[in-house]
């Protein structure tokens, strides 16, 4: 995968995804290896995203690499009207690899095709965020020892949630996933993605009540429900408290159940869940560092 950009999770085959997850295991066991000592990585955040940026920068620095870049567009030449093409062409000359986040959709694909410097997409608008998807897969693999034949419950905003869509598409590369889709009526998973599930030989069921799935799933993937997504504010008021996970609700869940969340959470997972051994969302965030280390090492030809 040397010198290959990662823009969309669909750019990688199942084998390539498994290869990255395998390398990530090595970094989980030993995250501080000075393999990037002679490398400069550009971290270009055209819009702020503190969590993603810090995760990437931590991944780079723990491997001994140097970071250049900016944390939002206001502090760069972009503000003076420089085109994305010029920014990328210039910074490519200063760095071995570019990590970029940009509010416009397709911007990372465009940047990756300008020259030979590989690009990792850290989010392009509502389009793709493939490293989030990889860390989700890694967290599932880490807790279930497989990506085949799992019961995966997805909870919350399944209509607009980019993270959920990518995860469904990625899991569909594996075998016999049973998706349990829990959302308010207004925020159901789009038809096109449900068709994709069926076309790839998996199954799904839809629910509006989280308690209907807790006892029959291996993964409980929670997401935020945003008020502004509702056309009908009364509907929001009616449903907002029915998608909150409390520790007491987990009593009869499977032993191997693990709870994931792309973070940040607002109130959809009560803090009383945090000490339950089934809570895995902080570990999941940390996995982001290992997966990003694996990607950097792989793209730079070091693994």
């Amino acid at each position: 995968m040397k010198n290959r950009s990662l823009i969309s999770i669909n750019d990688y085959s199942k084998e390539e995804i498994l290869h990255i997850l395998k390398i990530a295991e090595e970094f989980e066991a030993n995250p501080r290896q000075k393999i990037l000592e002679n490398h400069v990585i550009a971290s270009l955040f055209f819009e702020p995203s503190t969590r993603t940026r810090l995760s990437f920068e931590s991944a780079i620095m723990q491997l001994g690499g140097k970071v250049i870049g900016f944390t939002d567009a206001s502090s760069s030449s972009v503000k003076k009207g420089e085109s994305l093409r010029d920014t990328i062409e210039t910074i490519s000359l200063y760095s071995d690899l570019i990590v970029m986040r940009h509010p416009l959709e397709g911007s990372s694909r465009f940047a990756s095709e300008l020259n030979d410097t590989p690009v990792i997409n850290a989010g392009d608008g509502a389009n793709q965020h493939p490293t989030q998807c990889l860390l989700d897969l890694y967290s599932i693999m880490q807790t279930q020892n497989t990506l085949d034949g799992l019961d995966i419950a997805l909870v919350g905003d399944l209509k607009y949630g980019r993270t959920v869509h990518s995860l469904v598409i990625a899991l569909s590369m594996f075998k016999n996933t049973r998706f349990h889709l829990v959302s308010p009526f207004e925020l159901k998973l789009p038809r096109s993605i449900k068709d994709f599930i069926i076309a790839n030989g998996h199954t799904y069921e839809q629910y509006t009540d989280i308690s209907q799935v807790i006892e029959k799933t291996d993964i409980l993937y929670m997401t935020r429900i945003q008020q502004e997504r509702f056309a009908d504010q009364l509907e929001y008021e009616r449903v907002k408290n029915s998608y909150i996970l409390e520790n007491s609700m987990l009593e009869n869940s499977r032993d191997n159940l693990r709870i994931l969340h792309p973070m940040p959470r607002v109130n959809e997972i009560d803090e009383n869940v945090d000490t339950n051994e089934k809570a895995h969302y902080f570990q999941q965030a940390q996995n982001g560092v290992f997966v990003r280390q694996a990607l950097l090492a792989s793209i730079l030809g070091l693994r």
């Binding site: 085109s83 416009l104 389009n127």
Partner: protein, 153 residues
């Protein structure tokens, strides 16, 4: 009578191409897509002509100009019914229809207002995912533009 007039015009072309059966109302669009607006040799074009098959149709005749398949297929997005007639020495040498291409580059607009191609100087590029009921997936933002939403740059 009407038919005869059309024939006369066609036969008047010594060398060149007749693009017939253009959906009426799309003639200027076809001219723009084929970049004929700046063409220097003779061009005749007409709209609202009578057509047995379609009721009304548009037609363009271009002197001393022939089209490659790749070039002409661009018009298939707006004029899937178009017929191409090549004329050399007053004789019809080739008649063909148009087919929707697999990729559409540089002349259609992406429907997504947040797409990079709508904000910066980036040539658009689409993959046609459905030819019967035209759907094109943007190479950049991955959103689908459908037939009724197609706008030309």
């Amino acid at each position: 009578m009407e038919n005869k007039k059309t024939e006369l015009k066609v036969s008047a072309l010594e060398n060149g191409t007749v693009i017939d059966h253009i959906p009426t109302g799309h003639v200027l669009q076809v001219m723009r897509i084929l970049n004929l607006e700046n063409f220097e040799d003779q061009i005749y074009f007409g709209a609202n002509l009578d057509s047995k098959k379609y009721g009304k149709k548009g037609l363009i005749k271009v002197s001393n100009r022939f089209f490659e398949d790749l070039e002409i297929n661009k018009i298939s997005l707006v004029a899937p019914t178009a017929t191409l007639i090549e004329i050399r020495n007053f004789d019809v040498t080739k008649k063909s229809g148009v087919t929707i291409p697999d990729t559409v580059e540089g002349f259609a607009k992406c429907i997504n207002p947040k797409c990079i191609t709508n904000h910066q100087k980036v040539a658009t590029k689409f993959y046609v995912t459905d030819k019967d009921d035209l759907k094109m997936k943007c190479h950049y933002c991955e959103k689908i533009t459908k037939k009724n939403d197609v706008e030309f740059l």
